[in-house]
Amino acid sequence: MQRFLNDPDDIVDETVRGFVRAHADRVRLCDGNARVVVARDAPVSGKVGIVTGGGSGHEPAFVGYTGAGMVDATAIGELFSSPTAKSFHDAIKAADGGAGVVVLYGNYAGDNMNVKMASRMAAKDGVEVLTVVANDDVSSAPPEEREKRRGVAGEIFMWKIGGAKAAEGADAAAVRDAAQGAIDACRSVGVGLAPCTLPAVGHPNFSIEAGTMEMGIGHHGEPGTSVTKLGTADEIASEMTRIVLDDHDLPSGTEVAVLVSGLGATPRGELYVLYDRMARDIEDRGLKIHKAYVGDYFTSLEMVGATLTVMALDDERKRLLAASTDCPAFGAA
């Protein structure tokens, strides 16, 4: 493994420590829990707290979205593994400014269980906890089983919209509704061209034959919907756009935000090559791109691949998307 590695068991602690050290102007470590990162100014008294959390290995997600105007406290799990209930609970406590806390997380078995247990613990402390679970990955279940779908890069939009709504001073229910509305308005798809390796495991956690690709792949290498011959960038981009928009079914004229994220080892230039085709396909379907994000926003270690997320906008979401943010992965550098 050609990687920057000390003891594989220490990766997450070292990553979090380095992260907090690098961005001490915006975040700090939670007192008593080295797996919870808290926005510098959190808790803001009277503001609804925003919490997220998830496994490591997706950097800059989840931790990079901690900061003013976005997430107040982030619980951090092992590589590709949900944070503990205790960490979610500590994050909730750290984010609580007395106006309740909304936990915005992704639909994975571990996260569901740990957030549920943490919410119960927080309820005992007297903290009101509402939750929104992201399920934007269209390939992970058919539309009629949307509750089974995984959460992927659409979570970034959910955090941005929910975080901005909370920053505006909305109450917990309104923040929850805004975040729920954002993720309901999101659809995503991923494609994998080469796998990644968990250092503690030491070999790729799945395989993709050279010359093929896996459409619908998950953020941890969860199998996709089909393995086919590797297409051209244009073919792949068009297929991803088709999958997302067929599921989305937006009326012509709808304004959208588009996010194309690399999975870790895809050259950034290639993301723009994909975007160039996607944008034209999106516009050909009568939609209007209001804002685009292209980069490594939500990765899977060194997987080769990309995800496309399309969020339908309305006036509120446009306002909240434009609101100022200052977290390490999104906003002022």
Binding site: E78, S82, M113, K116, S140, K148
Partner: protein, 211 residues
């Protein structure tokens, strides 16, 4: 009636932990075939850490409680809450017992299963640890009166349950999306669960006293 003492039986949990740590690579390997390949890593980390914190003379209930605490507060993933709740409920059930007989052993396992069911939503046939655990609990309850037979039956029911997962199509968790492609590999969680129950039963059997 035969039973084994609660006090001083914490060594059973340390032995279980040692077996999980030994099977680290294997558990990750089978998880890797249809999941994300970290089951052994997750389990070994939690069980290994817990073993270091279990006092040499700990009771079974204290040892189970320590294990549960480590899983719940340091491991996360799915295993933190699932095994965390499993061992927490087992520990609470026998906390006041000086000795554990067949009836208490069955009650302990049933409580553990209910602990899992309180957080997870798996049913028999979904290709999860539940497929090893449910038949084991049933075997425990069918053999309450003869703990020697019970311990033997529980361990083999768990292993048969584990084996039954090989031919199943996963319906939950990361493997579910594979559909038919998930057939042919035993479930990782069922495999760790069978290892845990086998070593729990063997450890208890070695400590049996005629009462």
């Amino acid at each position: 009636m035969a039973s084994f003492p609660n006090a001083g039986s914490g060594g059973i949990v340390r032995d279980i932990a040692a077996v999980i740590v030994e099977n680290r690579a294997y558990l990750s390997e089978i998880d890797g075939k249809i999941g994300d390949g970290d089951h052994g890593v997750n389990m070994a980390k939690g069980f290994g850490r817990a073993a270091e914190r279990i006092a040499p003379d700990a009771s079974l209930s204290d040892a189970l409680s320590t294990l549960s605490d480590v899983l719940m507060s340091e491991i996360g993933g799915s295993m933190g809450p699932l095994y965390g709740m499993f061992f927490a409920e087992m520990s609470e059930t026998v906390a006041q017992d000086t000795h554990i007989d067949g009836a208490r052993f069955a009650a302990m396992l049933r409580a553990g299963l209910e602990g899992i069911e309180a957080v997870g939503a798996a049913k028999v046939g979904d290709k999860t640890m539940i497929d090893a655990l449910v038949p084991a609990v049933e075997a425990a309850e069918a053999n309450r009166s003869d703990i020697t037979a019970q311990l033997r039956e529980v361990a083999s029911a768990a292993e048969a349950g584990r084996d039954s997962t090989t031919d199943m199509v996963a319906k939950l968790g990361r493997a579910a999306r594979l559909g038919e492609r998930s057939r042919g590999v035993p479930d990782a969680g069922a495999t760790s669960c069978a290892l845990i129950l086998r070593n729990l039963c063997d450890g208890a059997a070695r400590r049996l006293e005629q009462g």
